[in-house]
Amino acid sequence: MTATLDVPAPVRAPVSVTRRYLAAGTFILLGLIDIFVFGLFAHRGDAVFALSLPGATPKLPGIHVPGALTAYLLGAISIGLGILRALVDLPRWGKRLTIAIALLCFLLALLAWADAGSSVGPLQVIDLLQGTLTASIPLVLGALAGLMCERSGVINIAIEGQLLTGAFTAAAVASATGGVWLGLIGGSLTGGLVGLILAIFAITFLVDQIIVGVVLDVIALGLTNYLYDRVMVPYANTFNTGNTFGTLKIPVLGNIPIIGPVFFDANVFLYITYALILIIQIALFRTRWGLRVRAVGEHPVAADTVGIRVLWTRYRNVILGGLIAGIGGAYLTVGSVGFFTSNISSGFGYIALAAMIFGRWTPLGSVAAALLFGFSYQLQTELSVLRVPVSSFILLMAPYVATIIAVAGLVGRVRPPAADGKPYVKA
């Protein structure tokens, strides 16, 4: 948490004690909800979790658990963890483990409650996990794009614009040429172009980076809406035919029960996402390249002194980030629904930004945060299939409330790269 470099110490609110009790309180609250909401109001009967998709060849038996009893048990675990958290000052990994367990307990209790006695059938666990991954793709790619920029010291609020223009170009190119791969490449390049514009204004013309980002988002929305109205709608047969990638099952891995259908039976975007997560995580923290990028983002003067080209590094990273976000945008059209519609990214870029901050500017942290959002989108879909008597708007609200609680109670102050958002002018 503390800045090791010679930077002005960030202003700090007195957080440590407050946060310890906030976290403990949150766990206990979750436990009480498990018991008194999901336990007491559970319908009679077992909750069934189906572990293979309907009609899949290696048919696995579903897991049957009694609804109410499961919720009581999980609630007790959660409360126990809360008391433990309040009394004992746990090490860092211990804190993380308790968070994970408490959240898992809450989710399982929720699912058991939702499915117990349901007339619709078992909860499709595979569907839920598959949907989580695919819903997370644009968020993960957007967060990685933001990370690439911000680790080198350029704030990227234009992720939303990169996703949107990427989606537009991907749909237009894939429709006009008939080639989905061309669409993907076109989308990626458009995202890179937005990145280039961001870089020119932020790095060369020294414009406030938040201004450029916001402005690029507005331009992207206006421009895609405009072109959609004027070109895509009148010539839909040429420019918006809805080409999509097919699914690609990985030969051996795809046949493993549970893991196969979830992780290795999707279209190429999921595999690109795996690769990018891995590459960026390793490149950023295990290579000379990554060390230089981080040096530029933390202390550009020092980096310049030892001969790292600061402005070039920033240009390269911002454009690379744009290319990645462009792929995420392409996923929104050629990777899923095919057709472009007005404002198709609908705020994913901002969620990705939040995921990046939530994940403390690390690839794996951002992925975890993005998965949380993806999971709750998909959970909402699954729960409305089970006809849970809760308004879908409340369910849609849940991940955002959860993020606020998490950011306030569990994560607290995060430390961005020290030179993030500060233009570098060579003295």
């Binding site: 202003v11 201004i211 507005v218």
Partner: protein
């Protein structure tokens, strides 16, 4: 502009004079071809050749309109066909291009400022008020933007980024609407109660952000983005359940219409639609200006905005400033909702919040987070929005093009070195970084 920004101090009791940046842009037009013309008066020549902030703003508007013209032309099938036959009829290509752009921009102007037809009509027994109709539409469109712009600006001045004006807007809208239909009060008093309620509703949503930030150190950008989505969904939830705010007997997600007593009246008859809402916006701008530049609290805001650690050393309670800045910002966004909810006949729906929250960011940026600048920027955007609607109706050019133009103006105004480069203006003070608003995430 850069001289002005360099004058912005580090936690010093400098009271910035109201900005001169956004002046004269109410009528953006290609009237400043460059900086080479000999004009009367040394000061003017100097201002033009050295790129004074007013000149930069006008040139930025000009470049933005030029880009907009390219957009209009490039997607006009008539023009494209004319250019395809450029070989045989080059004249047609140019005239088609010109007429396409001229038609769109003159409709934009007539919709936003005034339409020459109304003057001749007034001479022939038409209504004189009709002359001011476009201007009144501009004021009407500008009203909510000025208020959300002020909301974002207050946070900028305190060193924070408020992306949450949309959520705060909804908070205000819900309270104003509820007070508007569920309570029975005499005329005037009812409207006042609703306006105050809207301020309070927005302030509560803003306060949540400030309080969480102050208590736990959570980042306001995440908090405001998340609260926006919470509020979007809460609005949809409230408007689609009969037990909460859905209009009785409705299947659509819509609130009941507010009571006639609670509406904000128009000033001076129907055709110029300048309502009390516009006056509220101006009053709020004056109040914000007073707060920021004349009050102790405003001084604390600016001190924290310039340097939180210095402010803390000087004995200012930084956390309190965060809470209060967000509370006031939320209230201003709530007022923006009040001018829409109480100023229109249409009841609150799940899309009423429009893009006011996000437009507030661009308005605040263009207005340099100064209240007068925000008012002028809001009027400019209001003019473009009002004109854009007329342009779309008259020529079929989607009004989205005005959003692009607005964003480009903000971008170019924020990049004086680029404008200097484009128009080959001399640079006087070098291209120093301009720290108008934000200083990265750690504020």
């Amino acid at each position: 502009m850069s001289d002005q920004d360099e004058a912005e101090p580090s936690a010093a009791p400098y009271v910035p004079t109201a900005t001169t940046t956004a002046q004269d842009t109410g009528a953006p037009g290609p009237d400043q071809p460059g900086g080479r013309q000999p004009l009367t008066g040394n000061a003017i020549i100097k201002a033009v050749t050295e790129g004074h902030s007013v000149v930069i703003t006008i040139l930025a508007g000009f470049v933005a309109l030029l880009v907009g013209a390219v957009l209009i032309v490039a997607s006009d099938p008539v023009v494209l066909r004319a250019w395809n036959s450029f070989g045989y009829a080059p004249g047609t290509a140019f005239s088609a291009t010109w007429s396409s752009v001229a038609a769109a921009y003159s409709a934009l102007f007539e919709g936003a400022i005034f339409s020459p037809g109304t003057i001749s009509a007034a001479f022939h027994g038409g209504s004189i008020a009709a002359i001011f109709y476009p201007l009144s539409l501009t004021a009407f469109e500008a009203t909510p933007l000025i208020l959300t712009g002020l909301s974002v600006a207050v946070c900028f001045r305190a060193g924070m980024f408020n992306i949450g004006a949309a959520g705060q807007w909804i908070g205000g809208a819900l309270v104003a609407t509820w007070l508007g239909y569920a309570v029975n009060l005499p005329i005037v008093l009812h409207a006042v109660v609703c306006v105050i309620g809207a301020f309070a509703g927005g302030a509560v949503i803003g306060w949540i952000v400030g309080e969480i930030k102050a208590r736990t150190g959570a980042h306001e950008v995440i908090l405001t983005i998340m609260l926006n989505y919470v509020m979007y969904n809460f609005l949809a939830f409230a408007l689609s359940s009969q037990s909460l705010m859905q209009a009785p007997g409705q299947t659509n997600a819509v609130a009941p219409s507010i009571d006639g007593n609670a509406t904000l009246p128009h000033v001076g008859g129907p055709p110029p639609q300048v309502g009390v809402g516009f006056l509220i916006a101006l009053a709020a701008a004056a109040g914000t200006a007073w707060l920021l530049s004349r009050s102790t609290l405003g001084f604390e805001f600016r001190a924290v905005g310039a340097s939180p650690s210095a402010a803390r050393s000087a004995g200012i309670r930084v956390e309190r400033v965060w809470v209060l800045a967000f509370l006031i910002a939320g209230g201003l966004a709530g007022l923006s909702a009040s001018t829409i909810v109480q100023g229109q006949t249409a009841p609150l729906t799940t899309t009423s919040y429009g893009t006011y929250g996000f437009d507030g960011i661009t308005v605040a940026l263009l207005g340099r987070a100064r209240p007068l600048g925000v008012v002028l920027a809001g009027l400019l955007f209001g003019a473009l929005n009002a004109g854009g609607t007329v342009m779309e109706a008259a020529t079929g050019v989607p009004s989205d093009v005005t959003n692009v133009i607005e964003a480009l103006i903000v971008l170019f105004v924020a990049a004086p070195p680029l404008i200097r480069l484009l128009f080959r203006l001399r640079s006087t003070s070098g291209a120093g970084p301009q720290a108008v608003t934000s200083k990265g995430w750690s504020g």
